[in-house]
Symmetry: C3
Subunit: 346 residues, 3 copies
């Protein structure tokens, strides 16, 4: 577990230019404030620049523009934030899981589990399911019948994937995530709801991460689709037949209603909502807490947040929202009257 690298080793592996002592040995990454001499830190936000003077870090990752901001040993990168991520990954590899099926797991008939995969105790792999090479299925995970999971997946304890789903390589799914549950499809019939069977699947591309307690419903007829590189935070609800485009990142607690289509490279803030059957273009940013109630056809940044204030101020102002239409009419009346008065003056 004692991993360390010299600056030169890091640059050899990740690129970037080393300035200063290339032999400094680094065993962990930390903030400028907390880093110790055997640790590397980074400057990716100029508001922390003053900390370059006081930091005890052994080395710093910096962008080109900041390359002269410190005399400490340093690595210069075009993208210091991504560089920091990669250095951290070098220094903090995931613990290896022992290949094989734990005797306390339950494996269905005709399941195909790669011998390099690891199936933990209390996991259940359904009939005909496939688990790819080097995938790790945590304690208490349930994989439904005929579901296929690619290679190098990591399912933390308690993930449930229903039957017949198709998952690419490198999935990370956190505890409590549910994939492939029934979409919310009901039809009213003589005073009672009739359930509409949800016979679509969830199809997930490669390199997707799914946060804790996030839910992704299977499609009603066609599939729910999560494209390559999508990153979903915790407690997101993805309804049936949604499509999320490649490399879109969605923060926690977002709700996406049925059949919404979200483009690629979108960024959606926490607790936002997207109504059903809408289409959102590529490269759209949605602010936290914004409800998207109609399609967005142009890339750009969109907001719809009601501003907060002290209760007293809020009460004073919000009461008028219920009478805005009256107010607008009163202003119109004033405009007419002014025009008349001005006319009568001329």
């Amino acid at each position: 577990m004692d991993i360390s690298y010299r600056l030169a080793d890091i640059a050899a592996q990740l690129g970037g230019r080393v300035l200063g002592d290339t032999g400094v040995r680094i065993s962990q990454i930390a903030t400028l404030e907390k880093a110790q001499p055997n640790q590397i830190s980074f400057l990716t936000n100029s508001k922390y620049r003053a900390q370059l003077v006081t930091t005890k870090a052994g080395a710093i990752i910096l962008g080109q523009a900041d390359m002269d901001s410190t005399d400490l040993p340093r690595i210069i990168s075009d993208n210091p934030y991504a560089y920091f991520a990669k250095v951290s990954a070098m220094l903090n590899p995931l613990p290896e899981a022992k290949p094989g099926v734990h005797p306390g797991a339950v494996i269905g008939a005709n399941a195909r589990i790669d011998p390099t995969a690891s199936i933990a105790a209390m996991a259940a792999i359904g009939e005909g399911a496939t688990i790819g090479a080097f995938s790790v299925i945590g304690e208490g995970c349930c994989i439904g019948a005929n579901t296929t999971i690619g290679s190098h997946a990591r399912l933390y304890p308690g993930v449930v994937i229903y039957h017949d789903c198709v998952i690419g390589d490198n999935l990370i799914a956190h505890s409590g995530a549910v994939i492939g549950s029934d979409g919310f499809g009901i039809a009213m019939d003589e005073g009672r709801w009739v359930k509409i069977p949800q016979i679509g699947r969830v199809v997930i591309g490669n390199d997707v991460e799914i946060g804790a307690n996030t839910t992704i419903d299977r499609g009603a007829l066609d599939d729910t689709v999560i494209e390559d590189g999508v990153k979903l935070d915790n407690q997101i609800q993805v309804a049936h037949n949604v499509r999320i485009g490649a490399h879109t990142a969605i923060a926690g607690c977002v709700g996406i209603a049925g059949s919404a289509t979200i483009g690629s490279y979108c960024r959606i803030g926490g607790s936002a909502g997207i109504l059903g059957h809408l289409q959102i273009a590529d490269h759209v940013e949605i602010s936290s807490f914004t409800l998207v109630g109609k399609s967005i056809k142009e890339p750009g940044s969109y907001s719809g947040i009601f501003p907060f204030s002290s209760n007293d101020d809020w009460r004073r102002n919000a009461v008028h929202l219920r009478h805005l239409d009256d107010l607008v009419k009163r202003v119109k009346t004033l405009e007419r009257e002014i025009a008349l008065l001005k006319g009568s003056d001329e």
Copy 2:
């Protein structure tokens, strides 16, 4: 698994009038766009009518008004959407679960499990709990002590129901649903919170569906009640002592605070919120993302959504919300001044 029906078989079972070849054999249901000749499709939304010309479907379900919109073999129904749901259920029966208790399940003393019920591996049935006929308890489900579940329930893997709850027949509960957890009851006492024991139960009627990761808290003193036919989507939070009336349908991510009472046949949109101790009449529709902050006594549709726009527009407009009261006062002043001016002109 190879199920198929002739149109005549379907109509014999579900009613409706067949026009055209009654012998067409149908093995699946699909959208107009994707249906194949051995599949049936449906028209329930007029915006898809043009697809009737190009569809490859072997048969169509239509309403009375559309009965002449195609020459394809077809079934005419008063309620084509519900008909579609029922045909899909005929064609897509749930996989049967093997009756009996899996040896990897853990059964408490004095639990009564109907011999036709199916208890999967890693399920835990508490002391004195009752599982009704033909109910299916999935992997990793936990049923608390003395909880009663009726017949024909289907609990997907990882559902938890706490002790002493009462559940009717035909429950469907999706993975990660938690029923009967403690309500949020605390009392401040000399700078510390004291927990208020939650000694009520959750009582659920017949024909209820509960979505993935939805939570329903037990009552503080009296019970939390979900009446017959209620349909709850994913990630809904139902606080203690809430009552939800029969056949109400609630979309994902809705939060319902303590002791709120919701009528029958309501429809509540995704991510809406209902404050505590409110009462909502029968047949009320609430839009997605709307916060209901006072009781609703009349049936009808209600909204409270802040409209979104581009960040620039939003910033320009939203800043004024904090000064609406001033604006209203300025308009009042203008009205007075105009009145004076008009008076002085006369």
Copy 3:
């Protein structure tokens, strides 16, 4: 299971002054409306005072000001709501869990489990984890490697705590809670997201309660911290590096974005949101559904709720929100013109 106390016993244990027959025997607590002669009730909200006349309760808990509102045997307390909580706890002790490790649990190497602790079937305790005295770990819970849980914890079935977390004494965690999952940290690198390893921990103080399906992410570099006495309801999302101050209570469905710092003794309403990197002072109250978009430096109550109304009213009023800036400009123009007219009149 048959617990009962005389009023005198209760007062001897909890304080308060008994008026009337101190020998009344009490076996349960109930509302004024439902209480029976062997039950105690309470008056903590004056709107229920009329029920004092009709209640069948055997005794009542009252505040000083209400001590003469009934002739029933009664206990007078300075804080009748907290007193009610404590009486209920006396009458409704948690069922005891049998100490020891169920043979169906899976215990990692070098885990230290206090002999008084109870580990249920299908629980998994990771390598090097510590479970303190009298702690109860429910069915299907997973405790990660090297995580430490103090004494008297109660984890309901299906709680997951990831590796290396530190939990104080008296934790209550409800089913589906996930503690220590990865924070949402990603860096864009040439069109792809690179994962930022989340190497901080979750550190939780004493006397914390965590609701069903609530998620608390581990820190990116430093820790996520939940201080003593914090009470979290269901389905709350706590992002990485958040700090929640002591004795703060947060209602269901709240989302707290990364690195937000919340003070002590705050109360946050349901479905509220707090953006990242903000600071909220001690003793702040946030209304339900309010988005906090900037730091709050003063104690007080804050709101930001868009008021709901009938769809028709809403449509009529909300349309103007997109043109508020125009409206303000029109009012300014009117003010100028009035000033000119008044000038020309003088």
